[in-house]
């Protein structure tokens, strides 16, 4: 004979007896012992985001200064030539920006970055 599923009420006296035979076990400090044995929570990184940004910016500035020192700083006599080069470079860089595709891609990058850091930006503004 197939045993009936236990979720259905039964009139069988044996099954009724088995169902009645439930006595809960008192906690007696068991839960406290479990909580005391749980692994320690992971420590959060000490460096705050602001400090990280400062450290990165400082590193970038030092790197830039170091690079300029290695390549030789522009002298006053070279200043006109340097400005002219800078002008040419700026023009060359600005030309592709007139292309709508590049503008669209730029907008996409900016919106993606904004989406990724929206929470951080909102937290900063609030």
């Amino acid at each position: 004979m197939e045993a009936p599923d236990m979720n259905t009420p039964s009139e069988d006296p044996l099954e009724m007896l088995l169902n009645k035979n439930r006595e809960p076990i008192a906690d007696d400090g068991f839960s406290a012992r479990v909580l005391a044995s749980l692994p320690r929570p992971a420590r959060k990184p000490r460096m705050l985001p602001n400090r990280r940004v400062i450290a990165c910016s400082l590193g970038a500035v030092i790197g830039l200064v170091w690079g300029l020192m290695q390549s030789g700083l522009p002298r006053s006599s070279d200043l006109a030539a340097f400005v002219a080069t800078l002008e040419t470079l700026t023009t060359r860089l600005a030309t592709p920006l007139a292309d709508p595709t590049v503008l669209l891609l730029g907008a996409l990058v900016i919106s993606s970055l904004f989406f990724a850091y929206a929470r951080e930006i909102a937290a900063k503004l609030s």
């Binding site: 006296p13 088995l18 035979n21 479990v34």
Partner: protein, 180 residues
């Protein structure tokens, strides 16, 4: 109103809320410890050690809980695995001495306490798997499907063990008038 298991689990997973996990332990400790006491054949100290390990493992794996089964069933599954691993390590289960019942199964008391005592004695004469099947389905109140999942047995095996164990209990308790 106490928060549901789902709410407590969410708090543990998202905020590492240990108080919420403590609440889960308090809610389910009795079922898990009773189940393990059944598996260890009444060795309360060993059962409690296994229960503690089971809850710690559950805490670590809580992110993997998908909510497809009831949390209590998921916990019992972990407890059963802990027991099997421990038994594999120990290679043998410490067996409790089975209490001898009077040869002719005559009831010595007519009250309910005596009936429960005789029921316990009769259950001790069942095989370990039969006792486990009875415990999971009656004391824990799981369905056959849930019991099969927790124990890792085919559902047919659960049903067979239940049918056999009840048949044996009926024979052992036959002298009790209300059961005949």
């Amino acid at each position: 109103m106490s928060p549901s298991d789902f709410e407590l689990i969410t708090r543990v997973v998202t905020e590492d809320d240990r108080a919420a996990f403590g609440e889960l332990v308090r809610k389910h400790q009795s079922a898990v410890r009773a189940f393990l006491r059944q598996l260890t054949r009444g060795d309360a100290a060993w059962a409690d050690d296994l229960a503690q390990e089971s809850f710690i493992l559950a805490y670590r794996k809580l992110r993997d809980f998908r909510g497809e089964a009831a949390f209590s069933s998921w916990l019992l599954g972990i407890a059963h695995n802990q027991f099997r691993n421990a038994r594999r390590r120990q290679r043998e289960i410490p067996h409790e001495i089975v209490p001898e019942t009077s040869g002719d199964n005559e009831p010595s008391h007519a009250d309910k306490t005596a009936l429960h005592q005789d029921l316990s004695a009769a259950m001790a004469r069942l095989s370990a798997d039969e006792q486990t099947a009875l415990h999971v389905c009656y004391q824990q109140g799981l369905s056959h499907g849930e019991a099969a999942e927790v124990l890792g047995w085919p559902i047919g095996t659960v049903k067979t063990h239940l049918a056999r164990s009840k048949e044996k209990l009926r024979e052992l308790l036959a002298a009790w008038k209300p059961l005949t």
